[in-house]
C-alpha cells in the first residue's frame, strides 16, 4: 500500500506522450473554438456588440481550456486507467493531496475574479449614459417604445408642432429608424405584461416592466450606438425580438431596426417624409384610414386580408362591415366599430379571451393615442371591409361623426387635408370631409 502512495500519480511513458499531445490539442482546439465566435453571433452592428464579443472571446478561450483540460483528463483516464480483463485489483489508496486541492481552489477563484473584473469594465462602459442621445437635426428627441401583446410601437416626439399647435409625434410602428453613430436611448414601457426588448445585432436587451399607470408607469431604458458593418448595404435592417414570454403571440412579437447610413439619409428616407405625412394626410377618409390603421398594433392580433394581416389572437376583421351592425341591437355599425376600438372592454367576440388594448385621445400609452380624426378615418376604412357594408354609406360623412360623438361624448371637427386638428378644440358639427 505504501508503495502505491509514493508512486502516485503513476504515469507510464505513454501517458507522457499523450499529455504532450493533449496540451497541443488543447491549445489548437481552443484556438479553433475562437474561430467560431463570429459565426455563432449576429453581425456586430453596435459599438456595444464589439466589446461584448471580445468578452465572449475571452470566455471561449478560458472555457476552451477548461473544456479540453477536463475532457482530456477524462479521456486519458478512460484509456489508461481501465481494469483489464477480469482484473480484480483495486486502485492505489490515495486519499488526496492538500496542495493540489488548494491549487484547484485558488486558480479557478483567480480566474473568476479576473472574469468579474473584465465583465464589470465592459458593463460600465456599455451601460453608461451617453452625452448626446437621439440626435436629430442637432436636437435630442425622445424615442419611446411601447410593448403590447404582441407588437412593438416606436414613437418619436419630434419637438415640432403642427400649424394648430399639436405636437407632432411620429409613430413608426414596429420599426425603429436610426443611423450609424446615433447614440440611441429608448424609453421602454409595457402596456400589459412583461416583455423584453432584444436587438440581437446590437447585443442589448432590457425588460419592460408593468408599473402603475397613475404614477407614470415604470419606464426602463436601453442604449446602443449603431456602427458600420463591413459589407452591409445601407439602410441595413436587423430584427427586434421579444425575449420574455408574454402569451399566445410571443413568438411573432418582432420588429425591425433600420440603420441608415448617416443622418441625412435618415432624415430623407424616414424622418421628414413621416412628418410630412402627418401634416398632409390624404383628404379621402378611407385612404387616410388605410394609412392610420397601420400605425397601430392592430395587425398583431387581427387578420385582414387586404393588408395581409394574419394573426388570430383577436377576431378577424375580414368582412367586419357586414357584421358590425348586427352585433348589438340598436347600435349602428359605425358606433360598434368606433366603440370597440376606444372602449375595448365593451364587447368580447365569443371565443376570444384576451382583452384588446384601448385606443383613443385620452389613453395613457403614447403609442395608443388616437385622435378623433384618426378614429374617423379608421372607422371609414373598416366600413369598406365587406361585401354589403352595414355602414350608412350614403350618409357616411355624418353617420361616423355622430358615432364618434356617441363614443367620445364630444363633437368632432372632421377637417381632413388641413392638418391634424386638436381633439377638443372643435365645436362645429363635423361632416365636411369631402
Amino acid at each position: 500500500m505504501e508503495d502505491n502512495r509514493r508512486n502516485f500519480p503513476s504515469i507510464s511513458p505513454a501517458a507522457v506522450v499523450v499529455a504532450a499531445v493533449f496540451l497541443l490539442v488543447s491549445a489548437l482546439g481552443t484556438y479553433w473554438f475562437t474561430t467560431f465566435v463570429p459565426l455563432v453571433l449576429p453581425a456586430q452592428a453596435s459599438a456595444e456588440s464589439k466589446s461584448v464579443d471580445e468578452l465572449f472571446t475571452i470566455l471561449v478561450i478560458i472555457g476552451g481550456v477548461v473544456f479540453f483540460l477536463i475532457q482530456g483528463m477524462l479521456l486519458i483516464s478512460v484509456l489508461f486507467f481501465r481494469a483489464r480483463g477480469e482484473e480484480r485489483n483495486d486502485g492505489p489508496t490515495y486519499h488526496g493531496n492538500p496542495l493540489l486541492e488548494i491549487v484547484w481552489t485558488i486558480i479557478p477563484a483567480m480566474v473568476v475574479v479576473f472574469l468579474a473584473v473584465i465583465s464589470f469594465n465592459v458593463w460600465t462602459q456599455n451601460s453608461e449614459p451617453k452625452a448626446a442621445v437621439n440626435h436629430v437635426n442637432g436636437e435630442e428627441i425622445a424615442i419611446e417604445v411601447s410593448g403590447a401583446r404582441y407588437a412593438w410601437t416606436h414613437t418619436y416626439a419630434t419637438g415640432r408642432l403642427s400649424p394648430d399647435g399639436v405636437p407632432i409625434v411620429i409613430n413608426s410602428g414596429d420599426t425603429l429608424h436610426t443611423y450609424i453613430g446615433q447614440n440611441v436611448e429608448l424609453i421602454l414601457q409595457t402596456q400589459d405584461v412583461i416583455h423584453s426588448y432584444w436587438v440581437p445585432a446590437m447585443r442589448v436587451k432590457q425588460d419592460l416592466l408593468p408599473g402603475n399607470p397613475a404614477t407614470g408607469g415604470r419606464p426602463t431604458e436601453i442604449r446602443f450606438t449603431p456602427v458600420r458593418v463591413e459589407g452591409e448595404l445601407y439602410p441595413a435592417t436587423y430584427p427586434i425580438v421579444c425575449a420574455e414570454l408574454c402569451g399566445d403571440g410571443h413568438g411573432r412579437m418582432r420588429g425591425t431596426v433600420v440603420v441608415h447610413e448617416n443622418e441625412s439619409q435618415f432624415l430623407e428616407a424616414f424622418y421628414e417624409p413621416a412628418i410630412y405625412a402627418i401634416l398632409n394626410p390624404p383628404a379621402d377618409p378611407v385612404l387616410r384610414g388605410e394609412i392610420e390603421i397601420q400605425r397601430y398594433i392592430c395587425n398583431s392580433c387581427h387578420t385582414l386580408d387586404s393588408l395581409e394581416w394574419s394573426s388570430r389572437t383577436g377576431p378577424s376583421l375580414n368582412g367586419i362591415a357586414d357584421r358590425a351592425g348586427e352585433r348589438v341591437a340598436g347600435q349602428s355599425a359605425e358606433e360598434y366599430i368606433a366603440l370597440s376600438i376606444w372602449n375595448s372592454g365593451a364587447f368580447r367576440v365569443p371565443g376570444y379571451n384576451e382583452q384588446m388594448a384601448a385606443f383613443g385621445p385620452d389613453v395613457m400609452e403614447s403609442a395608443n393615442i388616437m385622435s378623433p380624426e384618426q378614429l374617423y378615418a379608421i372607422v371609414a376604412y373598416l366600413c369598406t371591409q365587406g361585401e354589403q357594408s352595414d355602414c350608412d354609406q350614403e350618409n357616411a360623412s355624418s353617420a361616423i361623426p355622430e358615432a364618434i360623438e356617441t363614443v367620445f361624448g364630444m363633437q368632432v371637427d372632421i377637417n381632413f387635408g388641413q392638418g391634424d386638428a386638436a381633439a377638443d378644440s372643435a365645436d362645429e358639427a363635423g361632416g365636411e370631409s369631402e
Binding site: M1, F8, S10, V40, P42, S51, V52, L55, L59, I62, G63, V66, F67, I70, M73, S77, V78, F81, N89, D90, G91, P92, T93, Y94, H95, G96, N97, E101, W104, T105, P108, A109, V112, L115, A116, S119, W123, S127, D192, I194, P200, A201, R203, V204, K205, Q206, D207, N212, A214, R218, P239, V241, E244, L245, G247, D248, H250, G251, R252, R312
Partner: protein
Amino acid sequence: MAPAENHEAAAVARPALSDYLRWSVDHKIIGVQYGVAAFLFFIVGGAMAMLIRLELWTPALDLMVSGSAYNSLFTMHGTIMIFLFIIPMWAAFGNFVVPLQLGAKDMAFPWLNAFAFWLIPPAAVVVLLGYFVNPAEAGWTAYPPLSTLFSGDGQTLWALGAHLLGISSIMGSINFIVTILNMRPPQMTLWRMPLLCWAVLATSIIAVMATPFLAGALTLLLLDRVAGTTFFDAAGGGDVLLWQNIFWFYSHPAVYIMVLPGMGVLSEVLSVHSRKPVFGYRMVGLSSMGIAFVGFTVWAHHMFTSLQPELRIPFMITTMIIAVPTGIKMFSWLGTIWGGKIRFTSAMLFALGFMSMFVIGGITGVMLAALPFDIHVHDTYFVVSHFHFVLFGGSVFAIYAALYHWFPKITGRMMNERLGKIHFLFTYFGFLFTFFPMHIVGMLGMPRRVAVYVPEFQLWNQVISFSAFVLGFSTFIVIYNVIRSYYRGPIAGANPWRALTLEWATTSPPPPTNFDDDPIPYEDPYGYGTEAAAVYLAVVERAFDGDSSGR
C-alpha cells in the same frame, strides 16, 4: 413471475409488487414508490418535450392550435420535470440509500415519510387537471402579471399543486436532516459518512430554507388570483419584481436541490467503479455545503434584464464565485478516477457522461454570469441549453448512474449491462446533439419559449429535434432493461460492486429492518486498495452470499 436465470443462489425474498401500491412506512418501499412515480412523470414530461420538438420542426405554428397551447405545453414540461421528476427522484434514492448507508433501520419519521410521498399523487392530479382546464401558460416561472391578470384557472390549480409539492418536499427534507444528524450508529461519525449522505444533507438544508419562499410566493400569487389582492399588480401598489425576487430566491437554490444529490451519486459511483478512494473526501463534502451557502446569494442573476442596472454587479460576482466549489468537485472526481482501475459498468459510463456533459453546463454557467454577455443571451436558447446541460447532462445522467448502481440492491437482481451500454450511447449522443446546437441558435437570435421562429433557424432546429427523438427513444431501452432485469436479471448478491459503504453490508434487497443490529461501518467509506478493505469485503461476501458467489 418468470423463473430466475440464476438458480444457484437463492434469491432473498423481496416485497411483492402489490406492496408498492399500498401505504407503507418502510423507507425502502417508499423509495421505490417515489422512484416509479417520478419515472412515470419523466415519461409524461418527456412526451411533452417530444411534442415541443415536433412543433419546432418547422418555423410556423402547425402542430399546435395556438401559441397558447404551445406555451402551456412547455409550462407543464418544466413543472413536471422539476417538481414531479427530478426532486421526487432524488427523494427516491435518498430514501432508499441514505438510511442504509448510515446504518439506520429507517428514516427518523417513517409515517411523515410516507405522508410526504402520498402528497405527490394528489398534487400531480391538481397540476395535471390544470392542464386540461384553461391551462397555465406562463412558464414554470409563472411571472406576473402574465400569471395573474392574464391567465385562466389552470394557473390557480398549477399554483395549488406546486404548493402541495413544496410542502411534500419540506417534509421529506426535514426527515432527511433529522435522519442524517440523529440516526447514525455510534461508529458512523460525520466524517465517515458517505458523500451521498453529505450531499443529501446539504440538499435538505437548502430545501428546508428555500422551499418556504416558494410557498410564500405561491400564497401571495394565489391571493392575487382569487382574493383580489395586488401584491404583484403595479396598478394596485404591488410590484412584479417582488415575485421574481422571491421565486428565484427559491428556484435558484432549487437548481442545487436538483443537482447536489447527483454530485453525491457521482462520488459514490466513481469511487466504487474505479476502485479508488474519493480524492479529497472532506473538500468534496464541504464543497456541497459551500454550494448550498453561496447558492442563496446568486438568485438575481435570473433577473439581469429586469433588475436595476446597479444591482446587477454584485450578483454577477457571487454567481461567478459559485463556480469555485463546483470546480473543486469536478477536479476531485478527476483525481478519483485518475490512476484507478476503472470498470466500464453502465453506472460508471453514466457517471463519466455526467462529468463530460456537466462541465459544459459549468462553462456556459460562467459565461452567463458574465453580465454583458448574459444580456445578449438572456432568455434565449443559450439558456435553455445551459440548464439542460446542468439538469439533464447533470441530474438525469446521475439518476441513470444511480439506477444502474443501486438497482441490484433495490431488487436483488443485476441490470443487463449490454443494454445499459446501448442505453448510454443513445442517451449521450442524443443529448449532446439535442442541446449543444441550442447554444448556437440562442446566440444567433432565437429566444426561448417560442412556437414560431424565423426560417433561417430551421436547419438547426431540425438537427435538434431529430436528436431529441433519438434521446426520447433511449428511454425505452432503459424501461425495457428495468422490467426485464426485475424478472430475469442475474441474482445480485449482497455486494455485487464490492463496495465499502454500508448499504452493501446487507442482503439485496435488504430485510425490512435493514440490519439486525447496529452495523459497524468500515473505517473509511472509500478506502479501496488496502488489505483491510479486502478482508472486510471478503467477510461481507461470506456473511451474506456464502461461498457460492464467485463474482
